[in-house]
Amino acid sequence: MDILAPMDAVGDVSQESGPDDVEIVSLRGEHDLGTLPEVRKAFEAAAGDEKALVIDLSAATFVDSSILGAVLDARRVAGETGRGFAVACDGAAEPVRRVLEVTGLAEELPVHPTRNAALSALAAAPPT
């Protein structure tokens, strides 16, 4: 067993500014009710910048329904304030890909296979 696996499993959240007035919030590791406050805080901070938002789940290895709820709330807020919204998820982590599939959110959300693809999609179709 890789003893570092549990350390990798501990979820963390980071926020950075992307090109063209886009804020990127990245989730790494496992996220559930235990990390939900941190995740919501990051989404809210990004919303406060009045920029488009990309949520990057490519390095997330697990998300539960509470995190999906936060993602949907972030999309709702972005829509209400006329900001762009996209999700990046390369599907590398089986639990993340699986939960997006079985909940139907893989089709409901604007999910792109890479961060660059999400940024390109926002640049190509800016919100009105």
Partner: protein, 274 residues
């Protein structure tokens, strides 16, 4: 030939931060009995959603609630049981709390069998079965659990090491241990897992894990009569003493109500070699 069933139980405080511990225990189980990635992902999702329901809804007016998670693998299938002793399962009106109310539908969408029970003694039990192997001739597993900070019990044998190592590593990570000390904790777990089934009561390795101040406190047992002392003797290296005791800040055999226990305390910083 089918491997014999293995049983593992986790007993946990109903706290959000314990959900990750449940997933690590399931990963350890998967390491031990070769559960493929897809069914493991489903087992983690089920356990997390069910435990989250218990954390959020079962104990609305208490902060001392507990959850028990058990997993039993048998015949290419794992049965998960997540039990609480809270207010019981009941329909809840939409509250506008932002919840997706996706937990139960999500569970139902990935299982082969799913039931909600109102067990004797109160609370709610969710039972789910997931097929892990198609030919039904695969190793069988069982996991159980109980509450302090966490209690893990698993049949002594090949499945014990990965489960104990992952749970201890997660607990050490959560307690802010350095890599060196986390490795020491895993080594201690390895030695415990290597114990003989005859030494443990019911042939099952039991460990209670608690954060005591900045340290991790482990209580291993109960052991059959003399089993704790035998295990310590097995750890002793000629001229070097008890190797594992040197990794720990406290290491002693003490009597319990149902047998002897080994109490171990590990500090997050460097221990003074004994």
């Amino acid at each position: 030939m089918s491997a014999p069933p293995t049983e593992l139980r986790l007993a946990l405080a109903a706290k959000p931060e314990n959900l990750a511990l449940v997933r690590q225990a399931l990963s350890g189980l998967a390491d031990g009995v070769s559960i493929p990635e897809r069914p493991l992902a489903d087992l983690k999702q089920i356990a997390t959603e069910a435990c989250m329901n218990a954390v959020v809804h079962a104990y609305p007016d208490r902060d001392d609630g507990r959850i028990e998670v058990s997993a039993i693998a048998n015949g290419g299938e794992v049965e998960l049981r997540i039990r609480d002793w809270g207010v019981g399962f009941r329909p809840r009106p939409a509250t506008g709390d932002g919840s997706l109310h996706l937990g139960l539908p999500l569970i139902a969408s990935v299982v082969d069998f799913f039931a909600i029970e109102s067990p004797e003694g109160g609370g709610t039990a969710l039972v789910a079965r997931v097929r892990t192997h198609e030919n039904g001739d695969e190793p069988a597993i069982q996991m159980p659990a109980a509450p302090k900070e966490a209690e893990v019990a698993i049949d002594a044998g090949v499945s014990a090491r990965p489960v104990i190592a992952r749970v201890l590593a997660m607990a050490a990570t959560r307690a802010g241990f350095s890599l060196d000390r986390m490795s020491d904790g895993v080594l201690v777990g390895d030695v415990i897992a290597a114990g003989k089934p005859d030494d443990f009561a019911d042939g099952r390795v039991g460990i209670e894990i608690a954060e005591c101040g900045p340290n991790l406190c482990l209580r291993v047992g109960p052991f059959e009569d003399g089993g704790a002392t035998r295990m310590v003797e097995q750890m002793e290296l000629p001229g070097l003493g008890v190797s594992v005791a040197k990794l720990a800040d406290r290491f002693e055999v003490e009597p319990g109500e149902d047998g002897d226990y080994i109490s171990i305390e590990i500090a997050p910083g460097n221990a003074e070699a004994a």
